[in-house]
Amino acid sequence: MTFCAQIHVTLKPSVFDPQGATVVRALGTLGFDEVADVRVGKYLEVRLTAHDEATARQRVSGMCETLLTNPVIERYEFTLAQEEA
């Protein structure tokens, strides 16, 4: 089975995000005063094959924890969708 994992990586809440802070200021100068906070993250799409969804989920978690994120500063979440063969 083929799956597509859509992975979002963001900085942990305790980590200052200077890009996000800059975007908040820029939005403010454009009149979007209602913006309280922006966090800039990364988005990855990973296509993989696995026998079942549970296995795919486990493999994607493994990828996130070993390479795709640094658990010291980042956290991740992903959705998994099965694709037509």
Partner: protein
């Protein structure tokens, strides 16, 4: 004392490190390609500055899976000195040889400058030839040098005298507690954002980096940290 300077695709301070060893110590030193699977016979390792693997994904994220890193870990485990400079510091944190992580500078700019530092501990094989509290000047050149560690890790660093350098007279990147360099608990792995290899002669604007290298040689000869 035989030095290995690891070279990744994207390293750009490898020649400077090589030259520093030759010029300050006149000891044998080789450039070691990252695919090398053995560091047999080397007494110390330098992971130089640059942009290993283009810093794709995160600085140091891919470099840490290079075959040579397995050997760097073995040498570190065996007590050999390992010095990570700038990108090398980022690689060492990603590889888990040092705690914490390096974040983008809090002002998002690449900062190229000569900065003031205070030597916070001389109880390492890298800083034995400084005086405790000595104020020095070293170049920096980085966009991701903001050292981060959570409160528990920071507490641990302070308790075990692992903070080696702090920025003086202004923090150039927003690092926590003005940290510019740390050692591991065993005190044989040092990561630092400033570039001692670029400050080995007054002609370069500073010679304050040279004691890092003389300290290494003297500590090795006297087997202080063996």
């Amino acid at each position: 004392m035989r030095f290995a300077v690891v070279v990744f695709p994207g390293s750009n301070c490898d020649e400077d490190a090589l030259r520093a060893i030759k010029s300050v110590l006149n000891e044998p030193v080789d450039l070691i390609w990252h695919q090398t699977a053995s560091l047999e016979g080397y007494d110390a390792v330098i992971i130089p500055g640059g942009f290993a693997y283009g810093d794709y994904l995160r600085a140091g994220a891919i470099a840490r899976f290079a075959p040579v890193i397995t050997e760097v870990k073995r040498l570190a485990q065996a007590g050999h000195p390992v010095l990570g400079i700038c990108n090398g510091f980022q690689v060492l944190t990603e590889a888990g040889l040092l705690p914490g992580a390096l974040l983008p500078n809090n002002h998002l700019q690449f900062r190229c400058d000569i900065v003031g530092l205070r030597v916070e501990t001389t109880r390492t094989p890298f800083t034995a030839d400084y005086r405790a509290g000595q104020q020095i000047r070293l170049p920096i050149a980085h966009a991701q040098g903001s050292y981060f560690a959570d409160d528990a890790a920071l507490q641990e660093l302070r308790e075990h005298d692992q903070i080696v350098f702090r920025y003086l007279g202004g923090n150039p990147n927003g690092s926590v507690d003005n940290i510019a360099g740390i050692v591991n608990r065993q005190r044989n792995v040092l990561g630092m954002m400033p570039h001692p290899e670029r400050a080995i002669h007054l002609l370069l604007g500073s010679s304050d980096g040279a004691p890092i290298f003389t300290s290494l040689l003297r500590s090795w000869k006297e087997a202080v940290y063996a």
